[in-house]
């Protein structure tokens, strides 16, 4: 394993944390949008309480992944930023609207205003994961290529590569995963039984959606990379375990299984396209920055982790321990 492989692994770790933590924040917004029934206000309050103290920190994982990418794999970052300018810009608009609306909402502007910001927050939470998934799907399908010459025009260069059924299937799959994670976590956040049951039902529903979207993705995956059989089996096993745990109301076990399931999916993608960072031609090794940069960044990551993990542990212990 080379230094570049280690850094690529670190990027995947950061993305993994972003998916498990930031992804669940997006999922929370989705459930805010679909809050229904007599308990819809308590559902929304629960979501807000769960996200409030941690979402700023959860969000930084994405920045870390981006920074590592442009520092350690600059040609990949440049190619990605050129080819996926449009969907990435849309993701950014989603992130801006979602983050600001979440804070504006809790600013005491009265019920009506709170509702309006809540709507912006929820819709942005619904759309942004789809676009993030589209970006991942486009990378996986090998459509982030060098600029074609001669220039074939705006649409074929900047729109067509990501406007594909496969990319959008991955987008919807991402949304389903985020909603699934959020619902599973919320069963543990809920204090009252009825609320817990609400999110248990939602978790099971979202889990079914994850399976349907995964099947659809596989159907369309002649555009995508091949995932190893062992990993597929493992993902399937934890997926079924998550269902079983939800069914038996063993919420702690469900949380572990759900997080493992989504993580395995992410690593499955990473391993499937290894050694390519951007298939079909840009490998991790070829995109890597000089060794001195990689060494220093890994050193910084080590030192940073020494500060970061105890701090994160403290944050989650203060707000998430029962």
């Amino acid at each position: 394993m080379t230094l570049a492989d280690v850094v690529a692994g670190a990027i995947l770790v950061a993305l993994n944390a972003y998916v498990l933590l930031g992804g669940a924040d997006f999922g929370g917004g989705v459930w805010d949008l679909f809050a229904r029934g007599s308990r819809r206000t308590s559902q929304r309050d629960l979501i807000e309480r769960a996200i409030g103290p941690v979402w700023e920190a959860n969000h930084v994982w994405l920045i870390l992944a981006v920074v590592l990418l442009f520092t350690c794999f600059p040609p990949a970052f440049a190619r990605l930023a050129i080819a996926l300018h449009v969907p990435l810009s849309l993701v950014l608009i989603g992130i801006v609207l979602r983050g600001s609306a979440f804070t504006f909402r809790s600013y005491g502007g009265g019920r009506e205003e709170e509702r309006r910001w809540g709507r912006v927050f929820a819709v942005a939470s619904l759309v942004t994961p789809v676009l993030l998934g589209v970006v991942v799907g486009t990378i996986a399908s090998g459509a982030v290529t060098r600029l074609p010459t001669p220039y074939p025009g705006f649409f074929p260069t900047y729109i067509a590569p990501w406007l594909t059924p496969f990319a959008f299937a991955v987008g919807l799959f991402t949304l389903a995963c985020f909603a699934f994670l959020a619902a599973v976590y919320l069963t543990l956040e809920a204090r009252e039984r009825a609320l817990q049951e609400d999110f248990r039902r939602r978790a099971i529903g979202a889990g079914v959606a994850v399976f349907i979207m995964a099947a659809l993705g596989l159907l369309l995956s002649h555009q995508g990379p091949r995932v190893g059989g062992g990993l597929v089996t493992a993902t399937g096993i934890v997926g079924v375990s998550a269902f079983a745990a939800l069914w038996g109301r063993r919420y702690r076990a469900a949380r572990v299984a759900a997080a493992a399931q989504v993580s395995l999916i992410l690593w499955g993608w990473g391993l499937a396209q290894f050694p390519y960072l951007l298939p079909p031609d840009l490998t991790v090794a070829r995109a890597a920055a000089p060794a001195v940069t990689l060494e220093l960044v890994l050193g910084a990551l080590g030192l940073g982790a020494l500060v970061l993990f105890p701090s994160l542990y403290y944050l989650f212990r203060v707000f998430k321990a029962k």
Binding site: L68, P74, T103
Partner: protein, 421 residues
Amino acid sequence: MSDLLAARSQMAVSLAFHIVFALIGIAMPVLMVVAERRWRSTGDPVYLDLAKRWARGTAILFAVGAVSGTVLSFELGLLWPRFMELAGPVIGMPFSLEGFAFFTEAIFLGVYLYGWDRVSPRAHLLSGVLVAVSGAASGVFVVIANAWMNTPTGFTLVDGRLTDIDPIAAMLNPAAFPQTLHMILAAYAATGFAVAGIHAFILLRNRTSAFHRHALAIGLLVGAPAAVLQPLAGDIAARHVARHQPVKLAAMEALDSTRAGAPLKIGFGVEIPYALSLLAFHDPHAEVKGLDAVPPEEWPNVPLVHFSFQVMLALGSYLALVGLWATWLVWRKRDVTTERRFLWAVAIATPCGFLATEAGWMATELGRQPWVISGVMKTADAVTPMPGLVVPFVTFTLLYCVLGAIVTLLLYRQIVRSPGA
């Protein structure tokens, strides 16, 4: 509008927007911590009220700062992919460190905002201190990366590629110290005076409110020393620019031709003889390089750079004078909260620090043009090949205008609702 101009405009709008929230994010935690510390030591509930209200304001400003910062980390690539491809391995280091500083800031801001009843008093105060320290560290790391664009070091340029990369040497580039010092002081001066100014304005109408008197005092405590020290930091920065970025200095001073004993232009055609040489090199007869040192195609937009620089100088000097006035009043044991003329001066200072920072930033960024990395890469060669960049420029500008208006409205409402307003 050309794609290059659209990309530059979008970057300018994004940075101009983010910079305000970044400054507040650096300095506001200090004010919160001081207020909380005073509440813990005096038991005066007004300080607790102040700390909580400031924390509330900081929450919203930090959130907008965080998302606009996220936008910037992507925009570096979306707009300038060739620049990032070239520079990433050299200046990625401060960005990586900034990532961890930002993590610390976000984590402990969460503890501070939501943890009033969940952690011990000591842990709560310490969380606030950590937010303040990591906020300043974030600012330092980001400005170091910008300083490298002004005075790039830590590589050898061979056929347009950077070899022999030394990221540590790049972080220690000559502009790093003067620029970070200048920017961190700007954060404290701008935010401190903005807070003091708002409360001074209210005190002019309601002179007895303990809430606003305490707020004014803490705002001045943070803002005034920084504003008084800023001219010294500015002097260090100016002498640095004279040595390492002579074209930028020539543009700032609109100095056409290289000359010894150069005068300082202070606007409206007034010149102080020898003053520029004196300021730039601490020697009245020193030679100062003019714009004629490089061909005209390598000149920045001289009128704009000159104007921005003058605006920064004027506003910064005003803040420094008000800061000195405050120091004098405190030294003479006079009550700063009842001197009406002083309160007016502080109220007028409310926006000055932010405007000065924006102007100073324009001077340094526009003054580097046409280069994105001085002497290494032209801005025009860094831009994305994607056409139609006017569309994202207009979109993000509208988005930021709306956000700015909403934040202003929400903060205004909070100020109006404060006790005694």
